[in-house]
Symmetry: C2
């Protein structure tokens, strides 16, 4: 871009720092910003500023919202005996929108990944253990992602919770609804087999 625009190059560099955005995409985004109307560009800047000034991390569960504590932690009608530990706020949002969980959450802030420089002390595991010691809490559901780093993070959290008088559970592994056996990965099949449940009606056999 020797003969191009310095400002485009700078914005490209800023976008390229974002997670999952390569240089080509960043460049396309920078040109997109240039093509925006003054009004739309101002709206984008305002949205960024609002996030920085208004969105806060919940001091209890590390969710991100406009209040501290967040609407979930301060919500009436939530089951305060259960904490669901997730890697990221996005995971919390997905579980929340499923409508099948009424307890509280705990956002770990990522997963343990030493190769990427993420160690247990970088996550909110200590705070989770502290919360789990609370009178009200009866169960911690570890809902990390079902992959290598997620699993090892789950195991680390389990170890930390071992001395605490609290139930600890993980999400069920199995074949996703709507999935097909022939397209199911071996690890998923293995999990579905080892986690198989009896469906034999009681008193029907011997």
């Amino acid at each position: 871009m020797a003969k191009g625009s310095d400002s485009i190059a700078q914005l490209t560099a800023a976008f390229a720092k974002m997670p999952g955005i390569g240089v080509r995409t960043a460049e396309r985004l920078a040109y997109y910003v240039q093509s925006l109307s003054t009004e739309d560009a101002r709206a984008l800047v305002e949205a960024i500023r609002t996030v920085k000034t208004r969105a806060v991390v919940c001091s209890q569960c590390f969710n991100i919202s406009e209040t501290d504590p967040c609407p979930i932690c301060s919500g009436r009608g939530r089951d305060r005996s259960t904490l669901c530990a997730v890697e990221r706020v996005q995971d919390l949002a997905v579980i929340e929108s499923s409508g099948s969980y009424r307890g509280l959450y705990h956002v770990l802030g990522g997963r343990i990944a030493p190769l990427e420089g993420v160690y247990p002390e970088d996550l909110t595991i200590r705070q989770l253990v502290e919360r789990a010691r609370g009178e009200e809490v009866k169960e911690v559901i570890i809902a990390t992602n079902p992959d290598t780093e997620g699993d090892s993070t789950a195991h680390y959290v389990m170890d930390q919770l071992a001395p605490v008088d609290v139930e600890v559970s993980v999400l069920a592994r199995g074949i996703p609804a709507g999935g097909r056996l022939e397209h199911t990965a071996q690890g998923t099949l293995a999990g579905a087999l080892s986690g198989r449940r009896s469906v034999k009606a009681k008193g029907n056999g011997t």
Copy 2:
């Protein structure tokens, strides 16, 4: 995100409008912005503003730079007899960085794609024809992308340039350097065959 952050949702929506950015990516970017230091967030906002205030479209070739005319149009030592018409500024940058072209450019502003609502009058084809009528101009190289829309755009431009007293050329099609025949698409092979050049040394045969 009912129990989440409105400001995150708004920034997600703003990012999701960007080309090639889906909702999931947009959400990840919004959380990334939230996690930025105040300083880094300010730098991002500043970079966006700078692009909007400083980057301008060249009134001659439609390149984007900090000056009008752009450094290429106002550059000494450029061959002013040749115009290379490209779809986007990024294409101009790629050709420029190849170091193998010393003429001027003309950014069309996209390609004709009626299904996406892009018609000839949305591009700078009229302005290209006008420039091609200029005394100095001897050749227009049409360097649209080698795909269906790029080709039909090239044909449309050719038709428009037909009445103008100027040479019109297109980039050579063929096997890319470092490519392998077995991995070459049929259309590319067809182009390489029909565009084959004689390498028989003169006076060596009959």
